[in-house]
Point group: C2
Chain length 134, copies 2
DNA sequence: AGTTAAATTGTTATAATATAACATTTTGTA
DNA sequence: TACAAAATGTTATATTATAACAATTTAACT
């Protein structure tokens, strides 16, 4: 069976919501927003989220328990993710920097472990929030 | 008031438990383990964990919702953390690699954001688990 | 078209993780 | 000794996530 490109109904509903959101969405906020579209239970949301993460359409921001759409059109599977997070306004942006990804993908520590995946979260203040404070 | 070096009673109890554990501990597992020592409520555990994270004695492994003692004696505040996580046995090790930390601490993306903190989690198979599979 | 296996969905209940709110006590030091 | 900050104790509740089971849909292959 050739890999389906299309999302299922629930997956599509939830992806659309996340994709048009300017900020990461949390699972129960998603649930609340899709109840009018017939998705009633947390598990329906979590199952769609799991699948979307697995196929790389969305990423989980671990430190926030929230989900954002993949910004990187070529990113089919999310084995190498990096984000910048503003600690003031909570804006999250996916970092797409080939120097960084090359460095981390080829990184080898002395423990002899072979890495096949990484997730990196940078924290700081975004431009807007820096200017607000000064 | 000069910064206290010593931990409070609850902080010490919880730090000792985490520090002697070979693996990351979860909050409710900690709670269960310290009940005999008089800590009865989740909030008592979370408050101690928050403080210990803040002062850099422990780190939170975000992808696992678990806590490990800082392996790096010089790490008083945890602004730059990196871990390797075995996806088979769940062993977690703090990575202490100056090349990596220099690279990431000085990393600047094109978005103009100033980072003051990062957390990096590598996933893969540890040596033991690689040999088990082959 | 009919068969089949995998994927998805629906549903109820419950587990696991984390914080709010408020009162009290301890600690370090001015 | 009085004050402010930090830590503690306690009850209740909010938030995040999964278990278990049944039914339906999908897509590849006869």
């Amino acid at each position: 069976m050739r890999k389906m490109q299309n999302l299922s109904k629930n997956q599509q509903i939830i992806f659309d919501l996340i994709d048009k959101s300017p900020e990461p969405l949390k699972a129960y906020s998603i649930l609340f927003n899709v109840q009018k579209r017939g998705i009633k239970a947390p598990l329906q949301v979590y199952r769609a989220l799991d699948k979307l993460v697995e196929i790389g359409k969305i990423h989980k921001i671990e430190s926030r328990n929230a989900f954002i759409a993949c910004q990187n059109s070529s990113c089919q599977i999310s084995k190498a993710t990096a984000f910048s997070i503003c600690e003031s306004c909570e804006k999250v942006t996916e970092i797409n920097n080939s120097n960084l990804s090359k460095y981390l993908t080829s990184f080898k520590d002395k423990n002899g472990m072979k890495y096949n995946k990484y997730n990196l979260e940078f924290f700081g203040l975004c431009k807007k929030c820096i200017s607000k404070k000064s």
